[in-house]
Amino acid sequence: MRFFATFRIALRALRRNKLRSVLTALGIIIGVGAVIAMVGIGNGAKAQVDAQIASLGKNVIIIWAGNVTSGGVRMGQGNAGTLLMRDVEGIAQEIPGVVAVSPEIGLGGQVIAGGQNWNTRMQGEAPEYFTIRQWPFMAGMSFTDQDVRGATKVCVIGKTVATQLFGDEDPVGRVIRIWSVPMVVVGVLAPKGMSVMGTDQDDIIYAPYTSVMKRFLRTSNLRAINVQTASQDLLTPVQRQIEALLREHHHISPPKEDDFTVRNQEEIAEMATATTKVMTLLLAAIASVSLVVGGIGIMNIMLVSVTERTREIGIRMAVGAHARDILLQFLIEAITLSSLGGILGIAIGIGAAKALSALAGWPTLISVPAVVVAFLFSAAVGVFFGFYPARKASQLDPIEALRYE
């Protein structure tokens, strides 16, 4: 039998019972719509996290003082005072593959500039820090190695701090006071947005680490060390070498636990995406259930339809239809129903995702593979759930079918 003719028969049968067809397809529409919207939200969240991870910098390894997992008790991370400048020098000089190292030391407090004040954090870093984090300047420039050597009172400020203290004015060359120490602003960093941890990365002041050590904290204990490797492949080997080096420096041998924590960018990325992955999977699973429910709805209606049209089946068989023709007719009807449901569902899913990002401000990202898979899956649902009713129709006895009232 001609495929096109069969398709037309199926379409007509569906059009004949418009309301019923729509209600039957509704399960698939909602199912596919939910899958598309959920995957869209999941992908959007993932893209956001990816962007945040990229904002960490390029090929970054971070060493924190203190052990995050010490005996199950979280130590005051970064305040253990176990990282020293000799560790930094060791990493920079002894480990191949390391291209940049920046010691980190930090404090919080109130900054005052002109009539404005603002509560923020200040971090001591080396000038390499901005290379490690791939952080461009929107005005001015970085402090220099000379500033580090001289522990000069200069600083670089983030976009948020610049806006809070200076509004639209140019902060470069202006003086800000932290803990009553005047610092000259030499540069303003381009905005980076939210960090993986959800903090504002632009709400910060950077100064040479020597300045922070000498003029503010009067300590040489580091909070962290930022390291950049030459390539992504070197992240893990360099990380291993850093761990070995620090254990040697700190005289740590098993069973003593490390007094530092090393994480590379890939690990941080994995940790951050783990949640979104689970969330996406969970949402997709819930949505898939509604697809299956939709499929059962189609099966139900197809069974009713076969019973209703028993006589029609008998007529078709009497005039020469093979069992296969009848099977195909009902199968195509089920597939058409589920595929149209799928297409409508995709449209509604995309619409819902767009509405969510517009109303709730959630980032959504519609991926083409998800749309294609959703469509194919809805067609497959039609095949799977349409097969039994179609087979039942095709196995009818023409004599019985013709006699059916």
Partner: protein, 253 residues
């Protein structure tokens, strides 16, 4: 005259539960090309079973059935479907048209299932021609619900004709129609028969059987009588007579 139907000792036994029902018990019958046969009998006489076997909807459990020279007793379900498609045209008591489908498309239906692609040409044209033969060319786009019973049966006859079958099988074709429409339908059959089409019709109405050429009566699964109709009625003449009677009634009142 070549034989369209040749039945040799055909049996049909239904195995339902513990009792075997012997619906047809050894029927031998030959129907030649161009015949017009009425198959008659009371209910339970086995004529419906006979009809199903003749229509290749069912297979005999014993004996042989040659349709148009082909032994169909041993064919598969699919082969029987093809035989029905090409060699048999069905007309049913309840018309059995597809509802909400135009007359033309109803007539096109058998052509949808033609296996031989070469034969599948001019579908609409052939359907229109078949409708013209039964005098319904002007109702081609009407749905069954918009047609009278007689018109619906004409569409069914057109559908039976469209694949140029060797045989038209009619199962109580006038059973749902009033007497005048019944005569009209018999007129259509007579006209087709005059053009050389073989028709076998199941009926229990004696007067309807008088329009055919040969009456076969069944009882208890056997043929008990097989006679040529001596005083054959002509549907055209009967309709004219009805018309005159009708006018006479109008004149006297």
């Amino acid at each position: 005259m070549p034989n369209v139907i040749q039945l040799a000792d055909v049996h049909k036994t239904y195995h339902t539960g513990e009792v075997d029902v012997r619906a047809v018990r050894g029927v031998s019958l030959t129907i030649g090309s161009g015949e017009f046969v009425a198959l008659m009998g009371a209910s339970g006489s086995g004529k419906s079973t006979m009809m199903n076997i003749l229509g290749c909807l069912d297979r005999p459990t014993g004996g042989h059935y040659l349709l148009d020279g082909v032994d169909v007793s041993e064919l598969t379900r699919e082969q029987l479907a093809d035989i029905r498609n090409t060699k048999i045209g069905f007309v049913f008591q309840g018309f059995n048209l597809l509802s909400r489908t135009s007359a033309l498309e109803n007539v096109e239906l058998p052509m949808l299932y033609i296996r031989d692609h070469l034969q599948r040409h001019n579908v609409t044209e052939r359907a229109t021609r078949a409708l013209r033969v039964v005098g319904l060319a002007d109702r081609a786009d009407h749905h069954p619900s918009q047609l009278s019973g007689g018109q619906q049966q004409r569409v069914a006859i057109a559908r039976a004709l469209v694949n140029q079958p060797a045989l038209i099988l009619a199962d109580e074709p006038t059973g749902n129609l009033d007497s005048r429409t019944s005569i009209e339908i018999m007129g259509v059959f007579q006209k087709l028969n005059d053009e050389g089409i073989t028709i076998v019709m199941v009926t229990h109405e004696l007067d309807i059987a008088q329009y055919t050429k040969r009456n076969v009566v069944m009882r208890d699964g056997c043929v008990v009588s097989d006679v040529i109709v001596s005083k054959r009625l002509s549907a055209v003449e009967e309709l004219q007579r009805l018309e005159q009677d009708h006018q006479a009634v109008q004149l006297t009142s």
